[in-house]
Symmetry: C2
């Protein structure tokens, strides 16, 4: 496998948006800005989703891969790692895959609707209408994202680039989805994934953590074109009808969990629940697989294995699954 | 000139952050999220600036170019145009330049500090402390960004891709800088541009609109390594000391304005003021140039000439200036 020395040869690169609706806003700004005459009302676009992509030469034989980041993060997660190594956005392209990386609706380059905040500032709306912007501290992430057993102490075999822990903190942006992402209801990012697959014709959808079940939810809205699903450390808590199970069983699904799961109060029950999800699909004739990284010889992986020191080895396991279950 | 058919061959690509400070926040979330135990306090990173880059093969002979977007926009401005043509991020790379595109501190992938908003939501701070998030409507932009003389009517020679006007609306994100960007005081994005130049060794800095004078302000903080400055439709209202003029006169500076300036109440005075700025630098022995696009045979350009239909022709004029004034 070419690990990334040598030139990266692209057929095409760029970015675009999927989805988006023009809505009237009566809160385009809060307090007036001295010296500027800016209208407080007008139309703005909301619910659009930013998509960056690169299409390497030689990718015509492969199914495009769509990567969706997790909570408090953006598409940056899949670019260069915190300690300056190659990320999956580039690595998958070097393995001849067209790659699409998104920023979820309401953060990063997708933007959000500030109307409520501006109207609270203007005294028009009560403070109880303000949305919650979640950010996480590195102290919280240390154990929740499994760098180690307690803050400041890494696991002996930790693969997370802890020398660059400040750089992962820099990736964090305020997260407007935290309160709703795990609800099974309509979500503009999920609908936009459906739009993206329609545009591409076919795709493999990959989600991580907060969005790890978004590919399944997109497939339950419209499965056409979704050739494979990769759920990275997902919370499989959505209860599915028999019809939904039958529908998902038609798509190859890979669920991936890292190391030190048994020691985590968050990830241990998620792992067990996802094992049941995988069994449920396979009993319905599906092709679902649980990839527990230590069972495949990859040890010490944190929750963020696209950034871990063995991120390319983990990518190789995923690419192998794509070869065997989606493209063969 | 290769307009972009054929492969794009990259030596390296990626993204990183410059700047950033870890600060204690007592408002990591607003109202609690049911089902989750999330700490409301902890450290978060603020003031970091996201930088994406690509380094083509054959770029060693050229000075890297840093592109900074304008108000209510992100680095997306320099990627694929609203109507799906090649943007400057790719085009400059195809002309063998290493290119760095940023998201300003407090928007896009750089994120922002939500502490005040969350603490207003929690009732700890008064609503008067809320920041202003500016968004602009397409109705406002139509004349302010010179698509045409009045909303719905384009200039006969307009080069803005008006058939894709919804796509430019999708690029908009809430702008926390609108109230301060034109103040000459300290700005974390300006300091971060200095850090970026230090990291690169040398660079040409390009700013647009809200940030068009950021390259000059960065140079006034630390000019070492700033080999050239490109200010796209800038408001040259900052009053400079004789010492500051002497300092800026040591750097080649290109100021660019599009078409239909005389018809714009915003851009006509800016154009005149910038003409005086250019003269002031040249009287001090500088190498400053005003490039008024119609004088160079490019007509109908809006405020967003990196997206206009003749965006690559405008880029060629800028590249020619780099050849003649920076690299010769």
């Amino acid at each position: 496998v070419t690990r990334g020395s040598g030139a990266l040869v692209l057929q095409k690169q760029g970015s675009f948006f999927v989805g988006g609706e023009l809505v009237f806003s009566d809160g385009l700004l809060g307090v007036p800005i001295p010296g500027w005459t800016l209208p407080p009302t007008g139309n703005i676009m909301v619910n659009q989703m930013y998509v960056q992509y690169q299409i390497p030469t030689g990718s015509d034989q492969h199914v495009p891969v769509v990567m969706v980041h997790g909570g408090t993060l953006t598409g940056k997660s899949f670019e260069e790692t915190p300690d300056g190594r190659m990320g999956w956005y580039e690595y998958f392209a070097r393995q001849h895959r067209a790659v699409y990386v998104v920023d979820l609706v309401s953060r990063g380059r997708s933007g959000f609707d500030p109307t409520i905040i501006n109207n609270v500032a203007r005294g028009i709306l009560p403070t109880t209408t303000l949305p919650t912007f979640l950010r996480l501290s590195p102290e919280f992430s240390w154990t929740a994202w499994r760098y180690g057993p307690s803050v400041g102490t890494p696991y002996a075999d930790s693969k997370f680039p802890l020398e660059a822990i400040d750089e992962i903190s820099k990736q964090a942006v305020p997260d407007l989805n935290a309160a709703t992402a795990f609800n099974p209801g309509p979500d503009p990012s999920v609908s936009n994934l459906v739009r993206l697959v329609r545009k591409l014709g076919s795709a493999i959808l990959m989600g991580h953590s907060q969005t790890a079940f978004f590919p399944e939810r997109a497939a339950l809205l419209e499965s056409a074109g979704i050739r494979g699903i990769i759920s990275l450390e997902v919370i499989c808590s959505m209860s599915l009808t028999a019809e939904q199970v039958t529908s998902l069983a038609k798509i190859p699904i890979l669920v991936v969990f890292g190391d030190h799961i048994a020691e985590s109060s968050v990830w241990k029950p998620a792992f067990e629940q996802c094992g049941q999800f995988v069994n449920q699909l396979n009993r319905a004739g599906g092709d679902a697989k649980m990839l527990h990284l230590p069972d495949a010889g990859q040890f010490g992986n944190s929750h963020l294995f696209m950034m871990d020191k063995n991120n390319l080895e983990v990518a190789d396991l995923i690419l192998e699954w794509i070869d065997d279950h989606v493209e063969r």
